[in-house]
Amino acid sequence: MSSVQSFGYLDEYAKKEVRRSALKAVAIPGYQVPYSSREMPMGRGFGTGGLQLTLSLIGSQETLKVIDQGSDDSVNAVNLRSFIEMTCPGIDTTTKTAEASLIQSRHRIPEQPLREDQIIVLQVPYPDPLVLVEPSEDKRKQMHGEMDYSRLLVKLYEDMVRFDEITISHRYPTRINGQYVLDPSPIPRWDVPKMNHSNALILFGAGREKKIYAVPPYTDAEPLVFSDVPFRVEDFSDASGGRRACRICGCRSSFLDEYSDSRTGETVYQCSDADWCEELSQSTEKPAGVSNA
Amino acid sequence: MTLEPILHIENYSKHFDLHEQGTQIPSSHNVSLNVYSGRLTALVGPTGAGKSTVLKGVYRTYLPSTGRLLYRNGSNHLIDLAQADEHQILALRKTEISFVTQFLHALPRQATEDVVAQPLFQRGVDREESREKARTLLAAMNLPERLWGISPATFSGGEKQRVNLARGLIAKPRLLLLDEPTASLDKKTSERVVRLIEQLKDEGTAILAIFHHPELIARMADQVIELEAPCDNTQFLAEVC
């Protein structure tokens, strides 16, 4: 790296614009703020939106955690982390949620409740939930402006008619502060309630679609539902109705990934959040609901 | 019974301007008459004298060319039917003035008893109650019961005429306009219908009527108004007849 390379890869003007957009996003919860997403030395769709937010917000005193679907070790997370380390000399990185001041994540919000002094940046492929029902961005902007989300609800209605339940598994449309409905990025339904009155600031960056939006701390975040069909998160019950546990740490209260054990052919479950799993495995005092498998 | 007429027509004339042909066809000419509550005023005169045109002028199916048609409504206000606002006319048609023509315009699918009950539906009377009244009236007019439930579209002339009459009488209007109501009825049925009209008259309805049969005029009319053919329509009549 040459010394003329600026801290955080982006030039100061670019960072300033991203920060201003982020501030606007915080000021108008759930509103998709357009910004001039810069070219990054990686393809659009690899988290360039989240990366630009992270690079604009990070300072040398920061401790960064990067995860991809809960894991610190996946290719995407590792590459992004090393890119940030390379372009932001002096920062610390960690895999521990509790130690991070800034977390960039793809498709998950950590199980460990976040704190006021933490910021989480989520990578977003499709920022606008209305894209499902309206192809024209012009009209979508109008619909957001008028809080016209009836056609999204019609989608839910059609789901109920066809499957007797709402089948959206990821990107569950969520209304922020009683106004704008946003696409919370492909987090599972499990993570949606974590956005409601979160202690930490949640920022969303869509690089390809050039949008930044936010759920500020202590803000209402309500998944779109019918008044008589309550929102439900993923159900990890087994055939007998008991809660499945993580095969590693035994946790019965986390979001589980399902694997097929290549050796035994058996279906096994384990925590999606790697740090959560590790913390619990190492801890001698297990929290309630955790047993050794 | 008041001495005030319910309807006072003053110098009513009606001619038709046919733009395409560039001609003017005169019809009613300088007609003046009064119609009173509980009385029947009969219009007589040769074909082309404009008898129906007077009725249609009162009902505003025709726009009067000249004259005043003063109607005293249920709340004792005088309304010039020639000038009145269309909504006012519609309201009067709905609640006070009925017109029985020789033609029946009904909805394609509607059952006869519903066609007859229509004026009551419009007045907001309960549907079943309205139908019950319609059935009573149809029975009184000797219309076979098997016809009540089907549409009058396929009925004979006499049957249609009774349906039409029943619809005109059912709501007991303040003013009833009758245009040859018994023209296609046999003697026996005609007698039943005449009795119903007389009954309505006794209950206070004012009637302005055209009758086909002179004996009916003699029997029912309290007052006869003779219309003359307008002088210059002979040529037109020759073309039409």
């Binding site: 019609v154 008044s227 | 249609k56």
Partner: protein
């Protein structure tokens, strides 16, 4: 019966428009295209009142401007000039063309209904018949799934669509059935004002009769005010109490429907009535 709508001097010009547009077009010039600036004067100086429970007919040939007035009132098109006052059930006045687009859409969602000639305009063919009705209900803030289901069922029953077909896509329906679904959707919010644009055009005669019948029943039951746009004298005769006759964007004659049909005043109306069967 209270007034539902007052329209005064509504005009709609497509094109740049010039000072001669209105003087050089109209029935007396036999055109609605301005010879100077080539703008189309789709409607000029259209004025009328509409009362609760009343059906007003707007009659004319294609290109006469009869649909334009309705499109403006339903906010599908902005008018070039003119005023329209809507009075809701509580008597509150709404100045239709001075409110912002969001207010307009809110008003249309809550108080108006529209049935188009082409069911593709009124229905979303990618979602079920019930879903189409649900959309209207959701727009007017009904948010209970059970309630939406039962109201949709009720409406489809009322418009004589088999409720077993509620969860089918409208593209599987016959033309008459699609119109019934459209009417059910338009009625979902119990609108004070219903616009019907050539709703029976292109349907079989027997189906036409049934749809007209349904419209009249609804008018009597719900005392909905309606504006019926059609070129069909038969539809006007059966439905409308009063009628406007339009030609080249102008109202050339208006009156009670039976008077328009039996004693037409304008040469054009006379020709129109004389040429009808």
């Amino acid at each position: 019966m209270h007034k539902v709508l007052n329209v005064s001097s509504l005009s709609k010009v497509y094109g740049p428009g010039c000072s001669d547009c209105f003087t050089l077009t109209g029935p007396q010039h036999d055109t609605n295209i301005c010879p100077r600036c080539k703008s189309v004067v789709a409607a000029h100086n259209v004025s009328f009142d509409l009362y609760q429970g009343e059906i007003l007919g707007i009659m004319g040939e294609s290109g006469s401007g009869k649909s334009t007035a309705v499109k403006c009132l339903y906010f599908d098109e902005p008018p070039s000039s003119g005023r329209a006052m809507f009075f809701d059930a509580t008597g509150k006045q709404h100045d239709l063309f001075s409110m912002n687009a969001a207010r307009q859409r809110w008003l249309a969602n809550h108080h108006f209904g529209m049935v188009y000639q082409n069911p593709h305009l009124g229905l979303n063919f990618g979602i079920t018949a019930g879903g189409n009705i649900a959309e209207r209900l959701l727009m007017s803030e009904v948010d209970s799934y059970t309630e939406i289901r039962s109201r949709a069922k009720e409406l489809l029953t009322r418009t004589e669509v088999l409720t077993e077909r509620m969860d089918e896509l409208p593209k599987n329906f016959s033309g008459g059935m699609q119109q019934r679904v459209q009417i059910a959707k338009a009625l979902a919010t119990q609108p004070n004002l219903l616009f019907l644009d050539e709703v029976t055009t292109g349907l079989d005669l027997s189906v036409q009769a049934a749809i007209l019948d349904l419209i009249l029943e609804i008018q009597q039951e719900m005392t909905t005010a309606m504006i019926v746009v059609t070129h069909d004298l038969g539809v006007i005769r059966l439905l409308a109490g009063r009628t406007l006759v339009m030609k080249y964007g102008r109202v050339i004659e208006s009156g009670l429907t039976d008077q328009i049909l039996e004693d037409p005043q304008h040469a054009y109306t006379q020709r129109l009535v004389a040429s009808a069967l």
